[in-house]
Amino acid sequence: MASAGDTILDAPARAAPREPAWYPYLLIAPAMLMLVVVSLVPFLYAIWLSFHEAKFGRVKDFVGFDNYLTLLTDGRFWNSIGVAATFVFIAVPIEFMLGLAGALVLNQNVRGRSLLIPLLFMPAMMAPIVVGLLWKIMLAGSWGFFSYNVLERFHILTDTSVFASPDLALYALIFVDIWQWTPFMMLAFFAGLQALPLGPYRAAAVDGANPFQMFLHITLPLMTPLLAVIGLLRFIDAFKVFDTIYILTNGGPGTSTETPSILANKMTFEFWNIGEASALAVLVWIAFFAFCSVFYQVAKKRLNAF
């Protein structure tokens, strides 16, 4: 595009005009149809189920909002929301900050980046279920590598093990999540840093700004759209996390690590209380969607993100 801008203003997404109006719809149709089938239909089905009594897979009577009422008055549901909130609001900010710090370090003149990057990214490439087992190996009571060689040896934790302690298990899971996803954040932010224009930094260097001022006044504002999008994605994914918790604690001890995902899984595949589980699914889904669409609109307008 011309820097001078002697084109048609900023008409976005300029397209060859000869395409009939239905042409783009034709292009998106297969994907849209597919998503209707694999996403909308299950969602609508879940809504339908949530208004019925469905125990043991047999859909019985229409019960209106009973399932929702049961759920909303159940301490266990709110406990799960609280657990997930704790999980997300501790894990994501830490991943965010560590990721950003790591990206800033990686963006220095680190040598052998092409070798280091795939290695650093390894945790994020692993199947969550393997990650779960990996940390079981590390942190399992008494025989875990880390439990035995560090926690026990240095008497940091003697009367319990991390996953066995209702007070610690959630933080251990948070730790595992941080371990797994910080590299993802780091590399995404690193890619963002690499794409930043050099000009403002040069100007700031000449203007006499110190590295912290550069970070505060240039890096951070320029990275905001990326931070917003990645932050949102990680937020969603952290809220959805299932495999690692399932394999490591399955919600225990007690209900101390029981997230809505774990609870929904139990309600479905252990208790076979499908109506209520669907209600839970629908609530979570709607809350997510509402949050994300607001975030999307705001981020798109304010930050030019997405």
Binding site: G199, P200, A203, A205, V206, D207, G208, A209, H217
Partner: protein
Amino acid sequence: MSSIAFQSVFKRYGAVDAVKHLDLACAAGEMLALLGPSGCGKSTTLKMAAGIEQVSSGEIWFGERPVSRLAPGARNIAMVFEDYALYPQMTVWENVAFPLKVRGMAGQPAAARVGEVLQLLGLRQMADQSVRGLSGGAMQRVSIGRALVRDPEVILFDEPLSHLDADQKVQLRAEIKRLQKLRQVTSILVTHDQTEAIAMADRVAVMNHGVLQQVGAPQDLYERPANLFVANFIGEPPMNLMKAAWDGPRVVGEGWAVTLPAARRAKLSDGAIVAGIRPEHVRLLPPGTAGDAQGVVSYREPRGDADVLTVVLDDAGGVKGGRMVAEIPGPAAFRAGDRVSVGLDVGRLLVFDAASQTNLEAAS
């Protein structure tokens, strides 16, 4: 204000010398242009002055102060960038205020300074706009404002006009020159555009392949280029540079010949030469008029107040006629295909040594 001096400065990237043995000085309050084609080392030189690039060897002096080991921020310089390098998320005001802010200057004095600079550059009305939506010219003015706001010792301009539209270019180059003269701030301007260099700078340093070719006042460079590179690089349309040979006092080219005054000829050594003459020193006369050559207009390029005509010279003395470009006041009467007689302003004819490519008459 302090002077700037480059003393035996080298810049190496691996095995490549981007700047070779540069000795160059810019007097206090002067504007010096570094001119040359892309890749000639001029930008590298400027960046070394700014501290964005490190010198490989040699020293840079600001007045009595060696600065080549100082961080950019410690040199008390300001820089205007080709791509403006504005802080994209800030307003015009914030951009201009930034150098003060990072130096801890705030409050009323800072605001007054910023206001004054914005006023000077005609940016007052835009103060609260985001710089993202501004035109190129306005962005570059903001960038200049940012450079001026804290009275730097030196301002470094890196291709400040190259992304601007022609009309904005003309307007801004006059403004920059005026501000520079008014404030008497030592400045280095890097440009590949000779018009800009000549129009704005007190002196111009021409570089090629990392080597300084000539430094001097624009007029010197224009009238007395030290070598073929400078002769060709400066002037538009470019100087006619033509193979020629001596025939006693006569310079004989391809289809043309002139006689130099004996006194002048005496000072010039023999050998293969290249003769140079600027298009505006080539006169076109009606055919049949006595001239230094005869030919046919092959192409006419009207430019309003001037016309640039290419003439294909007739063969003469068994030598195939060459081409010669003439710039004459326009609109001219000649059209492509017209026969013309060509007159050369012998006093303006330059003679270069074909081998060394240097101007035989340049003060060495």
